[in-house]
Symmetry: C2
Subunit: 298 residues, 2 copies
Amino acid sequence: MMNCLNVAVVGYGNVGRYAVEAVLAAPDMELGGIIDVIPYKLPGMPIVNDITQLEQKIDAALLCIPSILVPEIAPAYLARGIHTVDSFDIHGEKLWQHHQNTDRIGKEHNTVAVVSAGWDPGSDSVLRILMTAMAPKGLTYVNFGPGMSMGHSVCAKSKEGVKDALSVTVPVGSGLHRRMVYVELEEGADFQSVEQAIKTDDYFIRDETHVIAVASINELKDTGHSVHLERKGVSGITHNQHFEYRMTINNPALTSQIMVSCARAAAWRLKPGAYTMPEIAPIDLLPGDRETLLKTLI
Amino acid sequence: MMNCLNVAVVGYGNVGRYAVEAVLAAPDMELGGIIDVIPYKLPGMPIVNDITQLEQKIDAALLCIPSILVPEIAPAYLARGIHTVDSFDIHGEKLWQHHQNTDRIGKEHNTVAVVSAGWDPGSDSVLRILMTAMAPKGLTYVNFGPGMSMGHSVCAKSKEGVKDALSVTVPVGSGLHRRMVYVELEEGADFQSVEQAIKTDDYFIRDETHVIAVASINELKDTGHSVHLERKGVSGITHNQHFEYRMTINNPALTSQIMVSCARAAAWRLKPGAYTMPEIAPIDLLPGDRETLLKTLI
């Protein structure tokens, strides 16, 4: 690889820590710095609380921050000439608005926004679309877990009176899930109010949700996760075509690795604008020349 | 969908028959005709032996012909202003040459060639690349079968003295396979010569191959097939990430459905040139507007 991308990690939390490792492990990237509001001290790594404090020119920023902050933060980087990769995990209308907005700002400033990069949304979205192209009629079920949902945990933790939270997703079949939400309460917090706030949030309202108070969240945390994606459908007029995909992974490690692969596509392959993962040719996620990739991986 | 693509099916064999069904089932396509050297008679469908005999303007041609004929036939269509989709299934250097050649001719004539569209190469290639982007270090194993391999059967059938042939792929683990090749011999054919010709062909030379003479191939045929694709690898510096994909499908029905989905990308989304499936954004395989797709499938 002739050139190296200079990549910044924004947010040094659950995903950000793994993102730093993934950037350092990538053959075509250098870590330009870490940006966080908390002044962590890491030997040999510049941590600043604002991108303007980094001395090097940054090509791409991995936004390892809560989804709710992404639509506000991404445009600031794009307008500064920095490609962004986020893992915005709210599906539907909000995703479309974020996509439209970053598409416009990216085109104005000659930058690329990869939105909703991760495994779901992300690589699972690619699989859902690929399976639909393979069997246009039929049903797809996505079964998550058992495993910790980062998005749901962040949501539960954001509620008043919650010191720390862990939301475990349990598959109950046919794409349905139970949410087991463990909360460590702040002193004097009212459990019933916390439970109500969690159960009525958009993140939880459609699922069977149980809220349980515990003494320490830290003792429960395991970032392993699983998914089982299945489709049975019709190719042409031929029925009974079966497809299934399973994975068992460390969640933040996979999310950040996918973000790193998407940063590569953003910097070297894609035209200005916004892209979800199914809008990116998969080969653009990999380093290396096209000839070698086509000869070895097709 | 405002416009309809006019699609021709070239070769009315194993895949071609299913391709006709898949084109007729597609919401955004019409069957412009079938082209074959054999004058089949099908009620209500124009079958001709040359594209110039079709009265309608054809937008895209699905080349449902043996791989060995594809590099010669595809350029003729591309040069005539017709997009092509083939399922060229010879990996490595020959694929790269075919890609380079159709890329040049497509660009000269403002047409798109989708090459090696099917499930392997094809959708499996997309999965191999996606899994590599998710865990850049590690091993991928592709296990086929049990099931009939169309490419290998066509190859065996092409040997002198073979009236009909069926090659069944049996997975023996770790991406290794046994080839069980059933041959119906022509009168007076020498079994040893046939066996030798098959075992030394590029298609078979790397695998454990058994050739068995039978009275009738027709009694053995079942177009069901399976694949099990697995990768265990490293995301960032986190080991033990497991991914697996399985499918159980009717082989020609899936191959032709994928070719139909690729014809859509060729006609409406891709710029002139040649593309394998991993070079196509997966969302371009589906009909429908971007907003609806992003809101429902991401």
